[in-house]
Symmetry: C3
Subunit: 132 residues, 3 copies
């Protein structure tokens, strides 16, 4: 079962909490033990897990990444979004969360984030639920 979920991003770089969407896909699958795999089919976006409490963490992650991989550099790619491609590979296109007792086995402070690195755009991600 693969569910395709559409989202809209609103900033050039943005972390969008998608935990509830993924949890909803788990719930509607009725799978109790297994895995949820989240995959981003874009090359200037990614998916990651990070803190869900203080919004400054999201702000600090993006601020620092935009400093380490600057928007402008000695890039040749004509579309001008090479920095977004690099961040996409650094954060990664997919991640797995374990399902236990019908729930995502995330740590207390963990949320799943869709990472926009070249927005704002209409985007999508896939959720594949696999039963043990």
């Amino acid at each position: 079962m693969v569910k395709i979920i559409e989202i809209k991003t609103h900033q050039r770089t943005e972390l969008v909490d998608i935990t509830e969407s993924v949890a909803g896909a788990v719930k509607s699958s009725s799978v109790k033990e297994g895995t949820a795999y989240v995959f981003v089919p874009h090359t200037t976006a990614a998916v990651t897990i990070n803190e869900n409490a203080d919004p400054d963490v999201k702000r600090d992650i993006l601020m620092e990444m935009n400093k380490v991989i600057p928007f402008e550099g000695g890039y040749r790619h004509a579309e001008g979004n090479s920095a977004a491609h690099i961040k996409s590979s650094l954060f990664g296109a997919g991640l797995t969360v374990i399902i236990g007792g019908g729930k995502l086995l995330l740590g207390t402070w963990q949320s799943i984030y869709f990472c926009e690195f070249d927005g704002p755009r209409s985007r999508s991600f896939y959720v594949k639920i696999q039963e043990d």
Copy 2:
């Protein structure tokens, strides 16, 4: 089957070799062909695979990452550990190792490392073994 393994870290940033723990979970599961998924339920830690021979590799990885993502910067997060959150997303919360013949199919020089980026702390990680 999900096994929760506790560890203690002793440095602010540290790579702890957890290969034996993961291999032990595989052995006790009696699974011969499948996958072992290692997941870290913390937002200032991660899991990675790297060289197991020369300890200077671990030292160099941490030294360089602490240079690229400095502990102090223009961060706003009040807990003061934003650098750890960023490294956590760069290294990643989970990774899969293939099981073949009842063993982890790692390369000769590969070990699995728990990555502490905001220690020392008591930590844990999950190992989920799946049979084909």
Copy 3:
């Protein structure tokens, strides 16, 4: 089923498109719904997904990564390839692609790349196909 695929790299750092190899492994497995897991058993290489259209994207990714994690620094590892070990952990040793309808469910612009960070060398990667 684990398939081992051999490749040769030709540059010190290089992104080699391996999408066709992985798609071939899927095809020969006859699996219609499931996952393909690609794993690199080396500690100075990695696997990633990125754009397949403009070759300047590959060039920009490598150029910028070689700037952020320079070949020479305060490294101690005697083999002199610590930068490659660090890039290996940043990009990651493994990634999963969803299989649907017997095909890899990649986005339009996505290819799978073997990442050489310490070449040229003879290398290999594993492809494990799992059916739902």
